[in-house]
């Protein structure tokens, strides 16, 4: 069996934010490798740097020091346009606050990123339908976000994140604004997404969601520690 290259490889990355009251070290020499097919959950108290790490992994931000490779290429040497292209084609994001565009329907929200990626119209239509069926919302395709519940909005957001067949999906507190039951439904959906071959990295302080991951990592004060639980399958 040939070893696949890691999707993301962070080595000793730090992120320091200059603040008026003094610099804040949000991440301190964090090293993490995410392999294809991984399901990683990162937990920790508020302000420990979970989201910061997620943003670095997703090429939304760049480290102050250290090395960060995405699919073997250094993120630090990339220009913003290139990182933008990677985010559009290779990474999917799911946000705590969903961030669906309120003036677009569920269908249009999912189709938007495909259109931006240059996918032909016929292919977009087929893919959008496929994704909405995948998340169980095909019959709500024409509804605006204001007409959807929180769980439904998050499912649309997940469909949007999968639209361009990314190699990596990053989710930042995806159940943060949902009740337990709805959170479970989202968890089930993530399980299916990972089972179908998509690499997942989730930031959460929902223990039930974190328990579903094959790798559980803990963060504290900007540093990463592996959980003594779950070995890799």
């Amino acid at each position: 069996m040939s070893a696949k290259a890691a999707i993301v490889e962070a080595r000793g990355v730090s992120r320091v934010y200059p603040m008026p009251a003094g610099p804040v070290e949000a991440l301190r020499e964090v090293s993490l490798t995410v392999e294809p097919g991984d399901y990683v959950a990162i937990s920790g108290p508020s302000g420990c740097g979970k989201s910061t790490l997620l943003h670095l992994l997703g090429c939304v931000d760049t480290p102050t020091s250290g090395s960060l490779l995405f699919e073997g290429r250094s993120v630090l040497t990339m220009r913003e346009e290139e990182r933008s292209r990677i985010r559009l084609h290779r990474i999917g994001f799911v946000f705590q606050r969903f961030y669906l565009l309120p003036m677009l329907t569920a269908w249009e929200n999912v189709e938007l990123v495909q259109s931006e990626a240059g996918m032909p119209a016929a292919e977009r239509r087929a893919r959008t339908l496929e994704l909405l069926e995948y998340v169980g919302l095909a019959e709500r395709a024409g509804h605006l976000p204001s007409q959807l519940s929180g769980g439904e909005m998050q499912r649309v957001a997940i469909a949007r994140a999968l639209a361009n067949r990314p190699g990596l999906v990053l989710a930042d507190e995806p159940t943060g604004e949902l009740d337990d039951e709805t959170g479970e439904q989202i968890g089930d959906l993530f399980d299916r997404v990972n089972a179908d071959g998509t690499t997942l990295v989730i930031v959460t302080h929902n223990p039930a969601l974190a328990a579903r991951a094959s790798r559980r990592l803990a963060m504290r004060s900007g540093r990463l520690a592996a959980s003594p639980a779950m070995a890799r399958p």
Binding site: S51, Y99, V113
Partner: protein, 394 residues
Amino acid sequence: MSPLQFAGRSLYRQPARAILGLTGVAVVGALLFDMLMLSRGLIVSFRDLLESTGFDVRVTATEALPGLGPAVADAAAATDELRGLPELAAVVPVRFGGAAVETRDKKTRQVAIIGSETRRRGEWRLVEGADLGDGTDGGRPDMVVNRTLAREEALAPGSIVRLASTLPGREFRVTGVVEFPFEATGESMAGVTLRGFTLAFPTARRDEADLLLVASQPGVGTDAAVAAIRHARPDLHAFSIDEVLERLRHAEFSYFRQVSFVLATIASFFALLLVTTLLTVSVNQRLGEVAALRALGFSRRRITLDLLAESALLVGGGGIAAIPLGLLLARGLDSILRQMPDLPSRLHFFVFEPRALALHLGFLVLAALIAAAYPVILAARLPIAATLRRESIS
């Protein structure tokens, strides 16, 4: 989804804001369009008036405008000499004066009197009756009157007009009713022959003309006619219509040019400031969305195009609505300014020109770009991670 479609949806999402913004741009844009029309309106209108007389050159004794300087002495000889020039098709001497005329109720009224020879081309347009003849009827020279005088003194062809400013009062016989190109609203005007003029103003010097109206030969051109006159009679001052207008543009009409410039500048600044404010506030309210789109892979270029499209829709939509609104407003403003006394009734301050429309559309394009500049900078330079973090906390 194209940037325009996206922008349309963004505006549609907040319909009250969009409608109010469009309305504001339309109203201010109408004002701006009007100021563009005002900047050259007087000149264009005055040119039309001057050209309507059929004379393209004016000759005076000095560089003063016709009627405001010394008269041309030995007018008959000057007229004959100029008529001998092959470049000229017609030369007509004209005199201006003001006299008191007895009214029906035995009072007097001021009447502006134009004296011209009977070989006319365009000093006035006959509306009713007959034009001036050379003879006199029972010692009464011919006179044509304008509609105002005719209406207010119940004059018609055959009526007698008696001057109160001569002793004894000189009488004239009305032969017709005419329209003078430069008559002001409510102004009483009359036209007489040159001989009739000397009878109306016995103390005025004879053989003088306040103005010589000249028409160039077809195909020769105004400039050639002016050059010929200047060569033949360097003591006289010949003006083409362009030269008269250029002078008026720098002097008498300059105030309205200045005012239109000042108001247009203020209106532009106002519109820019407010559209920029609307867009900036709109972007500030959507920072989370913008950051999310950037995180999803939307490029800065795409975000910029979306905002430019939104600005274009606001400014463009309002600006296009401003055109019919501006034309309507111009009619109202023109009707106010035309109430000024002593202004030719056919003179307009606001005149539509394709140039004004082109400038207006050009401004719209510029305004859309400038108004979007700051919001674009805000959105394009947005720190994605920090914004997402801040939005999550808030």
